[in-house]
Amino acid sequence: METTFHGASYFYLVPVAIFLPLVLFGLWSFGLKDLFRRTDAEKRERRLDQIRRDKDAKRRLAKSGGLAVRPVTEPPRSVGSWIGRAIAYGAFAVVLGAFSNWPPYAYWPESTGQLKVSLSVPGDHKEACRKRTRDELAKLPPNMRAPMSCSRERFPVVLEASLDGSPLYRESREPTGLSKDGASAFYKKFPILAGTHEVAVRLSLDGGTTFPYILDHTLAIASGQAVVLGFGGVEKSLFLR
């Protein structure tokens, strides 16, 4: 049984059949009708035609002699004007056609790949969590008796990366949020020459005091290839993907 209509599945035609009339009605109300109905100028002209048929208006118009309402200049009909219009439309078409996809833009250098650093990781709490005492728990409302008490503020996260022994990137990011308790986010892109490189990455969650997360990786990157340096996964580690 045929389930498509000229390449379009019937399934997708159902919302079109439902929403298309609504969209068309909206467009019609907003102004599409003006394309099909008479413009205000045409309505005025028709009203003037009716007025002109009125006797008084005829009398005044007769008295006005050569000052009848003059229409706005009609478009010229000479060969030169047709050629001029053709040139104008043609030039506009050329401009549209050309600049809609030309000149080309060299976005990324040739013979290079892209290393994209993108990670979002919360730093350690500035104060270590501690266990609440029995008396402290008793003072709290029953629904707020969490056994551990942790400060909200977190350390900034520090990320360092080097490429073939040379420093490539070092950034310290403050935690987001008004209480500085959100994750610290890193996002940066680097052009990397195609080939094999030694990448070393260190991540600190306590403002740079210690770097518990380390990644040393031999990276083979092709021209135009995109590689992502991130953090996460089941084992919560740095990765290159």
Partner: protein, 521 residues
Amino acid sequence: MSELVSSPQPAAKWRRPFLAGLEAVEALFDKAFGQAWNPVRQAGTLAFFFFWIAAISGVYVYIFFETSVGGAFESIEYMTNVQWYAAGIMRSLHRYTSDAMVVAAGVHLVREFLLDRYRGARWFSWFSGVPVLWFLYASGISGYWLVWDQLAQYVAIGSMEWLDALGIFGEPSANNFLTRGSLTDRFFSLLVFTHIFVPLFLLFMMWMHVMRISSPRINPSRGLAFGTLGMLVVLSVLYPAVSHPKADLGMVPQVLDLDWFYMLLYPVFDAWGPGAMWAAALTVSVLAGVLPWLPPLRNPAPAKVLLDRCNGCARCFDDCPYGAVTMRARTDGAPYEKEAVVDAGVCTRCGICAGACPSSTPFRHGDDLLSGIDLPDAPLAGVKIRLTAALAQVDSIVAPPILVFGCKTGVGAKGVPVDGACSVILPCIGNLPPSFIDYALSRGGAAGVLLSGCRAGDCFERFGAEWTEQRLSGLRDPYLRGRIDRRRVRIAWSDVATTGDLIREVEAFQARLSTMGEEGA
């Protein structure tokens, strides 16, 4: 009453060379298109028209569009290569029309800025135009995401990186494009949703943009509409839009064919970074938004109603192009039903209301010329003084004296350097009551009166020229009196695009009047 005889202020000096350039460009298009179809003067209406084409073509393309990450690109390729005769053309039409809308909006913006049509009561239209541009760009860019080719990958990641700089998301939204498999159908559906609803918001803002204008013109002339639509269809057939290779988040696109109409700032973003781009974008937007209030502030007093001269005839109400005049029940006990009220916030000080007032006659004896409604900074009493003084200085021996009434933005704004001619400049030609023509001919000593204004179909105050034509033809109150010899009155805005044209009109008029004199008419 003070004898205020100052003329309306001319354009600022720095603006004049640009205005001259704009006039030259418009004159060029006048030659090919005629004043009725001139696309430069109808750039705003063309932007609306292109929106409708983009909307209709977009609906058609959406019928065949697969809204999943895996199927979007293939569905676009199907439209482009298999159903090229319909969906392919619609796709190309959608793209090129969107680009054309950027061009039309840009021309419209530049034109309104150069014409100084953004201050005073016009601030709302200008101010509302700023979010229109933002939504226009958001609409176009979000559309490019949906193709899900390498260009879409570049634009989507760049856009997300730019938004992430605001720090409003818990996780960077660019992480949705990190690796192969990161982008889910759910997030892709969000992108599709964005491209449907942002253009609807754009339409809403476009409506806001014109809502404070009475009888806004949002449709181009039929001929121009058919011409531009035909041009876009031909372009779509001859040069169909094609996609880049399919997006691959494991690769980075190296060379891209950007749509420079929408993506001009992306290379700048790559070079400067998101923070600098946000600062630049917000600075430009704020500056653009406050432009109506930047010095020099020119805010002449709005039209003022003199109740003792107002009989509530509502002619000013009928003629006001901006709906600034309303009629309400009488408050001064006079034996009339209504009185006119001016909304100062909407009044653009064009003076068309004064031109419509039957009390605006210079033939009164014994008192100052006080109209039922008038401009305090450019009163009609001043016009009477100026025309009398101007005609008194004309050498009527050289040629029949011609009085030219012009407007501050029209062709004759700088006067007419012709022997035997003098000019009086008004805020708008619609500010001229027909009785002043009668006065100039019967009492002022003019042999002829020539009315000059903006180019045909382009009245700065929208209806000044049209109302004047109707008043002189006896089709709109107040009429030009029947006793006036119509051969001594001439309207000169059709086919008069430059000062040179106006000079030739005046000279031809003088020659005609001389002939009439010889004929003993």
